[in-house]
């Protein structure tokens, strides 16, 4: 007999729609919403069924707090199986399900299952070994999805490896991702074997696929720069002294904006560079070398362009993940565009 814990958002828990998306994290010692059907299907298998609920917005705005609360529930309730969703094509909910399921599986080794439509952005947040049942795009497929959840739950609780493989093949989303596995020999041995095959003109298989970066064409020049609002953006990690927002010094996952309004240049001692990829001492000695406020103000005064945007934007590029950087770049561009910025001076290190 097993204990099942089910994660739902405010909508599927029956609390309310978008107006209740700020719902705080909640523990209920019973099944609710789609959990009722799942509990009935697993009647013979489980002895306790509990639900955790969190509003979609609340999860995203308070992720750390929510996961800490979830951790407490895991420690107290000790589930044998964690179910999240299904979230279908709902983006925020899908990401929350993926993060919650991954968190529970990775930290406590509890089998975790969620259900997503293949285009749900939550598929990007799935931890290794978290099972994702493929669903339709809408809750119209709820009934059949819950039946699959039940089938999978039984396989997991019985530790039926053969059945699990067959189930995964038929019903789980295939998300091609690369993880560490054990090879038959050390790298030095495989390298020489591969070299000998290559030298003999024999067959060999490269172990790392060649995936090229998407091309980034240079955008067209501004039509009339004299009427343009320009902004300064960098991946060089320049932050106010003391790094108040804790920008990472490598493998950045965040970006921040800092005011340069009323500043004619950036002074040493007021800003510092958080970046492990270059020698930051020259930037720390004169931050204008990275974010050239001094030169931009002069060009602005001389009428070369209309206005310098009041904020500069910053992230850390070193060791960064390309997909993450694409996301951050998109966010920065969107914010700048909404503020009427026409062009950007982007300084890289």
């Amino acid at each position: 007999m097993a204990k099942v814990l089910h994660y739902l958002n405010q909508f599927f828990a029956g609390i309310g729609g978008e107006d209740k998306a700020g719902q705080e994290f909640l523990f209920l010692p019973k099944p609710v919403g789609p959990g009722v059907l799942l509990r009935d299907l697993l009647k013979d298998r489980q002895k306790e069924y509990a639900t955790v609920v969190c509003g979609d917005n609340y999860f995203h705005e308070n992720e750390e707090t929510v996961l800490a609360s979830l951790a407490e529930v895991i420690v107290q309730f000790q589930p044998d199986l964690f179910i999240a969703g299904p979230a279908f094509h709902a983006g925020r909910y899908g990401i929350a399900c993926a993060k919650a399921a991954s968190f529970v599986h990775e930290r406590w080794d509890v089998p975790a299952v969620t259900g997503l439509f293949e285009e749900n952005p939550g598929t990007r947040e799935i931890g290794r070994h978290v099972l994702v049942i493929q669903t339709g795009s809408s809750a119209a497929s709820m009934q059949s999805t819950i039946k699959r959840f039940a089938d999978l739950a039984v396989l997991l609780l019985n530790n039926n490896q053969e059945g699990l493989e067959a189930f995964k093949e038929e019903f789980c989303l295939k998300i091609p991702r690369r993880f560490t596995v054990q090879a038959a020999a050390p790298d030095s041995v495989r390298a020489l074997d591969m070299l000998l095959a290559k030298l003999r003109g024999g067959a060999f298989e490269s172990e790392i696929p060649r995936i090229q970066a998407a091309p980034h064409p240079i955008p067209a020049a501004l039509q009339d720069i004299s009427r343009a609002t320009l902004a300064l953006v960098t991946e060089g990690g320049l932050v106010p002294m003391g790094n108040p927002d804790r920008l990472e010094s490598s493998r950045g996952t965040k970006y921040f904006k800092y005011s340069i309004e009323k500043r004619d240049d950036l002074k040493s001692g007021e800003f510092e560079a958080m970046h492990t990829g270059y020698d930051t001492s020259t930037v720390n000695a004169d931050p204008d070398r990275l974010i050239p406020v001094d030169a931009m103000r002069r060009l602005e005064r001389e009428g070369n362009f209309a206005r310098l945007h009041n904020y500069y934007y910053v992230t850390t590029g070193t060791g960064a993940m390309p997909a993450k950087m694409q996301e951050l770049g998109g966010g920065i561009a969107q914010e700048l565009s909404a503020c009427g910025v026409n062009g950007v001076v982007l300084t890289a290190t």
Binding site: E106, R107, D109, R124, E125, G127, R128, I175, P176, R177, R178, F179, T180, V181, Q182, A183, A184, A185, P186, D187, S188, V189, R190, A191, L192, M194, L195, L196, K198, L199, F204, S206, E207, I208, P209, R210, I211, Q212, A213, G237, N243, R246, E248, S249, S250, R251, A273, M274, H275, T276, G277, D279, T280, S281, T318, G319, M321, P322, A323, K324
Partner: protein, 428 residues
């Protein structure tokens, strides 16, 4: 050029009144070590501990590991140029404690004054458990010296001192009195091979940028130098020494001396390949043009050596991939068939592009695994070398609590993931 190597193995290690290797018992005298390093530790407090394979022990803040090596009859000659005037190495007789490491742990005296690029990364060695196969050294016996520099010592002086201390102790231990300890004796020489075997070089790209992030060759910092030909025997005798503290990606000094790639190529020398030697080059060059030239020169050197093929490996990550790939590309363009070995950065969720640079010429890659995949690391019973694990952004972690982190928290992770046979593969 011929080197006679005497490999000794320890079955256990313990403290003793006099240092010796009797049978497989390695006894280490703290007083004798003290005597060896007293002139180097005027401004350094230090303590010593032992660690053995399989123990539930986690070593924190590891800065470098050295394998004990000494020339017979002239023990001061190994690790040339680090502690004393350099002389040529790679010939004569060398004694080595093959499964023992002198492990230097500790923190720099003024870490708050370091820029992010200079700051050492946390480097853990787990002697058992999940982490053991991700860190260099878990299958060795360790004499761990934990150093604490006093405020009077500058970071650069501490950097120099820790290197000299490591070298002194490593030479001293290799030279201890031995009785009833059988040595595995090997003669290492690259002459006299069948001419029909393919001629192969090892391209060995290191990280050397600025003080605290550098590598030494005969005690000279390898910066902006041309790629050089280095004989494998020189590596074995300690001609290449690490002075970088980017723990996860670093090639520790012990792996410069006993490098699995050099060893594998020596093993196959004369039967499957004609091993020509090593091309030592430097990554992290500043501009694309310089990166390209480092590749061109390495390929030219390989061509002059008449290489048919090359295995290429690198120390580092990120932008140095470009230097490395330019080398692979240049070799292929020179008609030298090349296999390149690298870690991957597929992200915690596995969907990121594996390499930041991957030209079409690099068509034979060997993977060392996804270094950004998170691991759940339960605590080990004993913690030595420090009190708190340093995470990024000055955050601290109690080493007695489980840690959820990727392999970059481990000392020598890139090298060891490869040596452990880890690689990345698609999984759905």
């Amino acid at each position: 050029m011929e080197l006679e190597l005497f490999d000794f193995h320890a079955d256990d290690i313990q403290w003793g009144d006099r240092s010796s290797l009797v049978g497989g018992q390695l006894s280490v005298s703290l007083a004798e070590i003290q005597e060896q390093i007293k002139d180097l530790t005027q401004n350094i407090k230090w303590s010593a501990e032992l660690a053995r394979p399989g123990e539930s022990k986690r070593i924190l803040h590891v800065l470098d590991t050295l394998i004990p090596i000494a020339k017979l009859g002239d023990e001061r000659r190994t690790f040339p140029g680090i502690d004393g005037s350099a002389r040529l190495v790679g010939t004569g007789q060398t004694a080595r404690l093959r499964n023992v490491l002198v492990t230097i742990a500790g923190r720099f005296p003024h870490s708050e004054a370091m820029t992010p690029i200079e700051k050492p990364r946390e480097g853990l060695i787990d002697m058992s458990g999940v982490g053991a196969r991700y860190c260099h050294g878990s299958d060795y016996f360790h004499i761990v010296l934990t150093l604490e520099g006093e405020a009077a010592l500058s970071n650069l002086a501490f950097d120099q001192a820790l290197r000299r201390i490591g070298v002194r102790v490593a030479r001293y231990l290799a030279a201890v009195q031995k009785s009833g300890a059988p040595a595995e004796r090997k003669t290492i020489c690259l002459d006299n091979v069948q001419s029909e075997l393919p001629k192969v070089v090892l391209i060995y790209q290191v990280q050397s940028q600025i003080p605290l992030v550098r590598t030494f060759y005969y005690g000279e910092e390898i910066s902006k130098t041309l790629p050089s030909f280095v004989h494998p025997n020189e590596f074995i005798d300690g001609a290449v020494v690490s002075g970088t503290y980017k723990s996860e990606r670093k090639i520790p000094t012990s792996l410069h001396c006993a490098n699995p790639f050099i060893e594998e190529m020596l093993k196959r020398h004369g039967s499957e390949i004609n091993f020509l030697g090593v091309i030592l080059s430097r990554g992290y060059n500043d501009s694309f043009e310089q990166k390209k030239k480092m590749g061109l020169w390495s390929a030219r050197l390989a061509r002059i050596l008449r290489a048919d093929g090359a295995v290429a490996m690198m120390e580092g990550t990120g932008n140095t991939t470009v230097d490395f790939m330019q080398t692979v590309k240049a070799c292929e363009e020179e008609g030298i068939k090349t296999v390149a070995v690298m870690h991957e950065d597929n992200g915690a969720r596995g969907y990121e592009r594996p390499l930041v640079d991957h030209p079409a010429e690099a068509d034979a890659m060997v993977s060392r695994g996804n270094r950004s995949e998170k691991l759940l690391l339960p605590p080990l019973d004993e913690v030595i070398g420090g009190e708190e694990i340093d995470l990024h952004l000055k955050a601290k972690h109690d080493p007695h609590k489980p840690l959820f982190f990727d392999p970059t928290i481990f000392f020598g992770a890139h090298c060891q993931m490869g040596a452990s046979g880890l690689r990345a593969a698609y999984e759905s």
